[in-house]
Symmetry: C2
Subunit: 287 residues, 2 copies
């Protein structure tokens, strides 16, 4: 299949590589062109603009950071929308606002271009191992057309509903992840302050009702002082801003989500933005 | 061994039964005497007062709800302290304040009685299956004396440090559990409000970084509308009050813990106290 891919970051680069290795005719675009080198060496074409990456593509993947980035590569100067063919599909794997997604989908539909929102979870490891979870919103028939490509890069692929439903599922996921991590770091911080033997603390916590993916994966990194991203604080903070927009619109009580939004923003804006989310404990250690 | 056991609640009753079945000479006391019947049928002596349960005991287990309850059974009228023999050991499995524990330990030490704090995690299921995690504080030599009894009722048994260290470990555990559960219920609540297919939501959440014991165990109960305790809201709220005392003394930022304390107290005081902690989602559904 002729596939375009925009955004070769920590997630996009290995995904593009898997698509190329599966034999697809691939054109890639990335702001920093050097990131395209590995996949170019495997036979992908490197495009100079989003417009060029989208030219002739049956499916165009976008994997960038935030709502304005998606808007830019689609509708900005030399944007993909200038060249996308009728009946092609835009698959946006970025985590952005569901409302903006619906708006972008409408603008593309006016040109006869379909859209799926397909945010990811599973991290850099999942992208490298093609074990991502992909939450997809959009028309069922379009989902079915793209499904073989999703299966090349992911493991659990779920059609959640109409366009935007993937992003709303991602909101659910990010709320749970962020709040869970707050529990892990506050618990570990109290253990530190109490001078406990941290190996025993981890044994107790992982043995029972306190256990979580966050504890199992971030706990050991915190103990080693390893704050490399995984998932960078500034992206977690960006995702929580999107979560807050979503829960405000839904209405109701989301006090833990609001607290996570506040704390991750504070951490991201006070020197920890490029660290992994586990660096939240560093914020607590400052006081 | 001659063992006394005070408090045959949801945790204490199966623990006492395991000790009796292991062949120990057991005397039990419970405020509601009918709860003693199953273990009496297996040959345990039923005591009329804490003092009587403690008489001649080499080790006296206490498994009650809160700090004043432990104080009462030890030092109240007909309390265990009146009859405890020199060199006997009090093992308090309740979750209470570490500071009060240290105070009780001093009062007992003045009578030549040793004390261990030994709070539990693993829930009613862990108590029934003798797979509890037990976090023990107190002198190493005393811990070693009681270890065979701990091994009769638990699986992971860790000596955390001096008297009070078990309770401080429990604080860590309860912070992580309570905050993690807030993340689970706020995430699930947003999914409900968005009208998502909850089976798919659970598949996504359990597949990746949002996964936790709380999600795996409480998520399905929430979907079934099963709010029976497991762990009752009012005890979670009581534990969080103890957590707040502990983190205030430690100093620093524990904003998620404080939020959990606020929300679980509100839930416990507004008609959900006898429900399991997963009923937190009911509080969110009211708005």
């Amino acid at each position: 299949m002729r596939v375009g891919f925009i955004g070769l970051g920590i997630m996009g680069a290995p995904m593009a590589m898997h698509l190329r290795e599966a034999g697809h005719d691939l054109a890639v675009f990335n702001r920093t062109a050097s990131k395209c080198e590995p996949v170019r060496a495997k036979g992908a074409k490197v495009a100079a603009t989003p417009r060029e990456a989208a030219e002739g593509a049956e499916v165009l993947f976008i994997c960038v950071s935030d709502t304005p980035d998606v808007h830019g590569v689609l509708f900005g100067p030399d944007g993909a929308a200038e060249s996308l063919a009728k009946s092609s599909v835009v698959v946006d794997c970025s985590t952005i606002s569901a409302d903006a997604t619906e708006e972008f989908g409408e603008r593309l539909a006016a040109k006869g271009v379909a859209m799926l929102d397909a945010p990811l979870t599973g991290g850099d490891v999942g992208a490298r191992n093609a074990t991502l979870t992909i939450m997809v919103g959009g028309e069922e028939a379009v989902f079915q057309r793209v499904l073989p490509l999703f299966e090349t890069v992911g493991k659990l692929i779920l059609h959640m509903g109409p366009l935007g439903a993937g992003q709303r599922m991602k909101v659910v996921n990010q709320i749970v992840c962020a709040v869970t991590l707050l529990g892990v770091v506050e618990g570990m911080r109290f253990a530190e302050q109490s001078g406990m033997a941290m190996d025993k603390v981890m044994q107790v916590l992982t043995s029972g009702a306190a256990g979580s993916w966050a504890l199992a994966n971030y706990g050991p990194r915190i103990l080693k002082g390893d704050f490399a991203p995984g998932f960078p604080m500034k992206l977690q903070s960006k995702d929580l801003r999107i979560c807050m927009e979503a829960v405000r619109e839904a209405g109701g009580r989301y006090e833990a989500t609001a607290l996570a939004d506040k704390l991750f923003r504070e951490a991201a804006e006070s020197g920890l933005g490029d660290n992994g989310t586990q660096a939240m404990i560093q914020l607590l250690r400052r006081t």
